[in-house]
Each structure stands twice: as structure tokens, then as C-alpha cells.
Symmetry: C2
Subunit: 385 residues, 2 copies
């Protein structure tokens, strides 16, 4: 097992009918900016319920945070923070709203040029304070409700932004608030959670048994409840299991003390930035291809994955790995995803453009072994055609 630090101070408030607890979670004297995305939190009444649960506070709103939230949009919210002397941010939405709100919290308190905050990769940004954040989660997917990172889009690139000050003080996870999500967003959330898990699990073995088995538990749960929670969105337990797994897949727990990959996410980010594909979909496109190209480097963990997660025990090592990859692809397509680049009009020319973008963004040594050079990324993308 590798050395690690684990520190996650977010207070999770999970379950039915918890929104009214906002009254005790948000400071009584707060000047609150509620941040949200499109119209769904308005349309389905969540925004009204949130505001009703905050009696006595000065409450302001900032809507229109788009999927893959943009620097320019978020800077408008920073202006609203300053103008209205906001001292608490409440994100109501999914990963994009939460990620964007983390950026607002940092940029509002940052003395330098806000664009500089995009230049620190996976290292903490150099800020000493940030506005406190709470979240009300309406889309289970990114885990942003219980971690300290976000991804911000700017001028055709996607930039990770991390700070220990970005952990939400609290996150309310009421699975019932997610019942109205469109099918494709639920499918994206399932795949996002699945890939977050395998990015931290299918690398090389370091005898992290708790971490491996917890990862396997998340994957098995997603396989069991994924199709069901799409078909029966109001089955509480299926949805609750998805919501909790989404949080657990990216809160630092399963990745503590083990190697991490993230090549699929880096390539996927470029696919989203260039072709506008949903984040979850891009992961389903890239991950199986990545395993096909790097099956030797990942052999031991792919075998463990096939045996433990899919229960494949018969056959040679190669047959087990082939079957595990095939079952994964079937799982994604069973959720309604089209998982070939060609399904989305991307050909070899598009691949060249993606590889050029990876090089431009300095993403030339990806993966747990840092040997995924641009030519390996190209082979992975070709395997996804």
C-alpha cells in the first residue's frame, strides 16, 4: 500500500425530506447566493423549497451555469458576489453547478488575476481563503459534493482546479430530488461514477485490499442498479444506491494509498471541449479502448476486475480480460450509450485534432505509469473508432 493522506471534512446529509435542515446548516445571518444551472431546479420546485428553507437570510440567485461551466459565466457570478456582499454560496444542481460554485468561491477571494487559478492542474491553487459553500445535489455523477476539485472550461480547454478550501461545508443528498432527471443524464451519471472508480482501481496492484474491494463494491452496485434506476426512476433504494456510490467514488476514499490513472478523463475532456459530447459519454467511448491498448500494463487488475466484478472465472487470462472488456461495453450500451467514436461522426481527422489538443495542453505523459504519450493516446482513440 502506498503512503497517503485522507482528509474530507464535508458533512453529508443524506435521505428523504432533508431540505428543511438548510435552516440549521446555513448561518442565520448569511447573505446567500444560490447558484444553479438551467431551468429544471426552477421547473420542478427545488429552488423554491430551498429558498423557503432559509428564512431570515438575504438570498440572491445566480442561474445559467452551463454544463462544463465556463470561466466567463462564473466571473459574472463573482461580480454578483462582490456587488451583494455575499458570504455564503449554495450550489443547487449537479457537478457543473458545484464545480462552478467552487471556482466562484475561490475567485471571489483571490487577489490575483482569476485566470491564474486555471493554471495549477492537480496541485492546490495558491489561495488562503474562500467563501464557504453548501450544496443541494440534484444529479448524482461527479462526486463534487464531497471533494475539493472542479473542472472549468475556458477557451476550448478544460482545467482542473483544486483547493482544500473547496470542500463543501455540507451537501444535502436527497435521492428524490433526482427523480425528474432525463434518462441520458442518469446514464451519464452511472458511467461517470463507474469510470471514476476504475480510474482508481484498474491500474497495478499494491495490495490495497480495502480500496480494491470498496471499488469492486461500487462497480457491482452500479451494474446491479444501473438499468433499474433508469427504468424505474422513482424506485427509492435503487436511486439512493446510485447517489451514494457517486459520492463515494470520488471523495478520496477509494484512491487513498493506491495508484491512479485518469487518462480516460483527460482524453474525454478534449472530446467534450472539441465535439461537445457529454462528459459521461466520452468516458464510455475511451475507457474500453484504453484497456484494449494497455492490457499488458493493466493485466493483473483487469483479471481481478473480470473475476471479482463480473464473476468470470473460466478461460485463459486473455479470455477473461476480453470478456471483462466486452461485458463493460455491453453494460454501457445497455444504458443507452453509443460507444464508438464513429457513432458520433468522429473519424481519423478528428482523432488527429484531439491528439493535437492533448499536446497543446501538455497532456503528454498520462496514466498511472505516465507513459501514455500522444501516440498511445492516438492508438487508444483509434481503438474507439
Amino acid at each position: 500500500m502506498l503512503n497517503f493522506d485522507f482528509h474530507n471534512p464535508t458533512h453529508i446529509v443524506f435521505g428523504k425530506d432533508r431540505l428543511n435542515e438548510l435552516d440549521s446548516l446555513v448561518p442565520e445571518s448569511a447573505r446567500v447566493l444560490i447558484t444553479y444551472g438551467g431551468g429544471s431546479v426552477k421547473k420542478f420546485g427545488t429552488l423554491d423549497k430551498v429558498i423557503q428553507a432559509l428564512p431570515g437570510r438575504e438570498v440572491f440567485r445566480f442561474g445559467g451555469i452551463e454544463p462544463n461551466p465556463k470561466f466567463e459565466t462564473l466571473m459574472k457570478a463573482v461580480d454578483a458576489v462582490k456587488e451583494n456582499r455575499i458570504d455564503f454560496l449554495l450550489a443547487v444542481g449537479g457537478g457543473s453547478v458545484m464545480d462552478g460554485t467552487k471556482f466562484i468561491a475561490l475567485a471571489s477571494a483571490y487577489g490575483g488575476e482569476p485566470e491564474e487559478l486555471l493554471s495549477h492542474g492537480f496541485n492546490p491553487v495558491p489561495v488562503d481563503n474562500a467563501l464557504p459553500i453548501g450544496t443541494v445535489v440534484t444529479l448524482p455523477a461527479t462526486g463534487s459534493e464531497m471533494n475539493s476539485g472542479g473542472v472549468i472550461s475556458h477557451q476550448g480547454g478544460k482545467y482542473p482546479v483544486f483547493s482544500p478550501l473547496s470542500f463543501p461545508r455540507f451537501s444535502i443528498l436527497d435521492p428524490e430530488l433526482t427523480y425528474t432527471l432525463p434518462v441520458n443524464q442518469v446514464a451519464n451519471g452511472i458511467v461517470d461514477t463507474f469510470i471514476h472508480t476504475v480510474e482508481q482501481y484498474i491500474t497495478y496492484p499494491v495490495d490495497g485490499r480495502f480500496q480494491d474491494r470498496t471499488s469492486e463494491g461500487i462497480l457491482q452496485t452500479l451494474i446491479e442498479i444501473g438499468p433499474k434506476t433508469i427504468e424505474e426512476p422513482e424506485d427509492y433504494d435503487a436511486r439512493a444506491n446510485l447517489v451514494w456510490c457517486a459520492t463515494m467514488a470520488l471523495n478520496g476514499l477509494i484512491g487513498a494509498g493506491v495508484p491512479q490513472d485518469w487518462e480516460t478523463h483527460m482524453i474525454g475532456h478534449e472530446l467534450t471541449a472539441m465535439f461537445g459530447l457529454d462528459h459521461g459519454l466520452t468516458l464510455a467511448l475511451v475507457q474500453p479502448a484504453g484497456w484494449k491498448v494497455r492490457r499488458e500494463q493493466k493485466k493483473e487488475k483487469l483479471l481481478q476486475y473480470g473475476r471479482r466484478v463480473w464473476g468470470i472465472t473460466a478461460g485463459s487470462d486473455d479470455e477473461i480480460i476480453d470478456a471483462a472488456i466486452a461485458r463493460t461495453e455491453e453494460f454501457f450500451t445497455g444504458l443507452g450509450m453509443k460507444i464508438r467514436l464513429s457513432d458520433h461522426g468522429i473519424d481519423e481527422t478528428g482523432i488527429k485534432d484531439i491528439v493535437a489538443a492533448l499536446e497543446k495542453h501538455g497532456l503528454t505523459a498520462l496514466s498511472e505509469t505516465q507513459d501514455v504519450t500522444p501516440d498511445v493516446s492516438e492508438r487508444i482513440l483509434k481503438a474507439a473508432l
Copy 2:
């Protein structure tokens, strides 16, 4: 899944050679009281290393915190805190030292009679502040390094003491610091971790899939590495897996959103208080007997345990449950435990005394279904003879 709150702010610092990081974890201007137990942390040099890692601080020591730490002992430490104007407590040891230090932190800041702190059971004690605590863990067992509770002994009883202020600010978990532990303490730690897990897992099903599988992962890990880490104490990975599982088994994670039992612990506490048996041993004595007596109430989870943890798939439901209980008993005896009350000189008269003590302490409606009355406790103890 049941509604739940999860909030655990402890910073875990895990791995080899981390002790020197105390210098950045403990405030520079702190007046530190290092608390410890018997002589082993002195004998093996851990105490010296800790003090060396705290240059510039005023450092005081309080040793002699005994297993099942006593109120009277801890109140002497409270006197030392006041006398020396201590503002940071650093526990160096196992569960008893950590539990005791939590009590010192609360009692030092409490305005009322310190004995009152023993009277709140599993509810938070009514205190508004407490001294900050850090820990250096030398015995993997209780999970105290990442939770907010402790158990204090006083006048023949054992009293739980909880407060959200009791979470350690940080805990350093270096598996190498545990290499010198005596075999029986390691065995006790393995059993303690195992029983912490099943107290939160073998109850009744509520479709908490992440929680169940994470519990199963801890149990499978203990079964795999338990005997090995006793035979080869300096096998780093085996010991590291024990240390991390011990922390994860009682930090709130696997019990969030599922029913919890704890009858074995309550009966075990009386066995320790009355007969001086080690805590881990008392759990190994009581748990299998509890399953035998309450096999109908726990049927579904016992079956799941037999199938998933022990891989028992053949036979009738009853045969699977019988085999699961038998395998558990073999696991405990394989760690060197004698798991019958009669092995320890306890007979039916002793059982009557234990049951009377349970009644005296108000423990008359135990378990996840609160139907373990004193006569059920008596049947459990008789099944353990």
C-alpha cells in the same frame, strides 16, 4: 437505505516514516500534553521520536493510562492539563489511550461535574468546547483514531462518551509502529475490527449496497491477512491492511444508512468490567453465540455473510448459516483465542452476575431491534458456555 448524516473531519496521515510531520500538524506555539499507556511506547522509542518531532513546543507527558481507561486516572491528567495550561493533547498509543485522551479533552473544558459526562450514553455530551487532539496510533483495533467516541471505566461499569468535538484533528497511522505489539494484542485488534464490522452489517437488510459490500470487503481482508500479520508482524502490506481496516470499520462509514446492533459490545463490556477479560476476546466469546440465539432475526444477513464473505453456496439456508458461524469460530480460534466462557472459568453463576449487571446499567433492550432483553442476553451467554 435509511436516512443518515456522515461527517468525519479527521485528517489521516498514513504510511511509513510520517512521524516527522508532527511538526507541521501540531501548532507551533502549542503547549502539548503527550498521553500514553504503559512502557511500550517508551521502550520501543516511539515517545522519543514523537518529542523530537515537536521542536519549539512546551511538551509535557502523562503516562499510565491503563487498558479500559479509568475515570480516576484521567482526572489526574485533567489536573495536569490545568496546572500546565495545556492547549493540545497528543495521544500516543491504542484505543484506551485515545479514548481516555478524548475524555481528558472534554473534561478539561467542562464546567460541571466531570462524572456527569459518563451519563449520556450514545448521545453527545453537553459541552461547547474541548481541547484539540492529535493521535499517533500504535495498536490497530478500536478505530478511535477516526471517530468521536470513547469508552470510560468507572466503578465497575463501562460508559460510552461521545461528542463531535472528540474527533482527532489528525491521526498518524504508521503500520511499522505496530510491529512490536504482542501477539495477543494483534489478535484482539483483528477480532475487534471484525466485530465492529458485523455489528453494523449482520442486522436486517435495508438495501445499503455500498455499506454491505464495504463491510464484506473489510471482513474478507481480515480473514486473508489476520493469521499472516500475526505470524509475520513485519510484513508491511499485511499490517497496513489491518491498520486501515481497523480505522474504516468504526469511522461512521459502513454504519451510515443501515441498522446497527452493538449487543455483543454491551455484553462484552460487562465481561471485561467483571472478569477483566480483554475487550477483543469478550467479543469473540459473545458474537457467535448471539448469532446462534438470534439466527431467525438475522437470517437474511447471516445468509448473505455466509455466501459472500465465506463463499459458502451449497446447502440449505440453515446449513449455510451453521457453516458461516462455524467458520467464524474457527477464524477466532485460529488467531489463538479460546472462545468459550468455560475456558475462562465463567459458569452459570457468572452469567447470572453479568445479566444482573446489564440490568443495573439499564441495558435491557439491546440490538438493532431492541428486543434483546436480559433473558435473551442470558440465553446468549449460556450458548457461549
